[in-house]
Symmetry: C2
Subunit: 187 residues, 2 copies
């Protein structure tokens, strides 16, 4: 029994050492941007969290396009619940993942946290270019919905095959660049 | 020009009549439950919106299983951001969709709105049975995370091939039953 306890304790210590070592792991901006771009392309659908007036969480999913600065753009009815939420509170969060992943395999996905709202003028034209480039059947002449843009201030990358199992890497977004902020390991 | 205006106006009126007719469309509980079950099975990953203390929206995605009453269950580290959010504010929203849909095709998905938290006792055992039945490589003996359960009070079904284009059907959840509440059309 004592042996078993020591063995378990030893395993626990080794596990904690590995976790601490991985938590201190930093990543270059170039590498994070390369990985983030791959993760943004994993799906043309994303889910977005917004807040009702009063703070209750809402969720929707939608087709999106994105720009080199990790801005997410889409078209929406201004009367939809998420559009109305954003007109009062611009705070939002987006997650992008391939839904065909398998439990127990190497998982991946990206979460983005920032603010969003309807855009006009040059920003709307840029959003339209991004959107039309991604969705070839999109016809702006037939579109009556405004463009919306989400701008992240922080992203979280989950890419187990590359970053390690249970590892979440957080980066700050400045312009088109990502800067490593921290590495968390859920062992 | 006058002709064109009349033609456009006529189309607009017809479109509004169709929209109003579709908005009054009700669906039986049996039919909604059958559709909802199909939509819940579209993916083993879902996205969940929770609120930070203060109300800022958070989002994550995770593997989930579900029970006949449309409860969503999963395992999570209690230290993860979404678990910590739920320990303060149980309000949550979940969306489930197949990410391999094509822009311009018949889209589908389900959104669920309710409350969530860690479960223990009989509820945790039920969650474990649902989870183990869905994920054959899940090993409860090796699992150190608690089970969480989300219970919806309202669901929104989007199933264009069956319900019609741009049609969102809202239902209230009572026990294991769905009751039609309203039909919205985003034409």
């Amino acid at each position: 029994m004592a042996d078993r306890q020591c063995a378990v304790l030893g395993a626990g210590l080794r596990s904690r050492e590995v976790t601490l070592e991985r938590r201190s792991r930093r990543f270059s901006s170039d590498r994070l941007e390369r990985l983030a771009r791959r993760l943004m392309n994993a799906s043309t659908l994303c889910a977005m969290a917004t807040a009702w007036p009063g703070g209750r969480p809402h969720i929707n999913h939608m087709y999106f396009a994105w720009s080199s600065g990790f801005d997410v753009v889409w078209i929406s009815d201004p009367d939809s619940r998420h559009s109305r939420n954003l007109s009062v509170n611009r705070s939002a969060a987006v997650t992008i993942y391939d839904s065909h992943q398998t439990w127990g395999g190497f998982d991946r996905g990206i979460q983005l946290f920032g603010t969003a709202g309807a855009v006009s003028g040059a920003a709307a034209e840029q959003a339209e270019r991004n959107y039309a480039a991604r969705f070839s059947s999109f016809d702006q002449a037939a579109n009556s919905y405004p463009f919306y843009r989400f701008r992240p201030s922080e992203v979280k990358l989950f890419y187990e095959r590359v970053l390690g199992g249970g590892t979440l890497v957080t980066a700050k977004v400045t312009g088109e660049r990502l800067a490593w902020a921290r590495t968390e390991v859920f062992a």
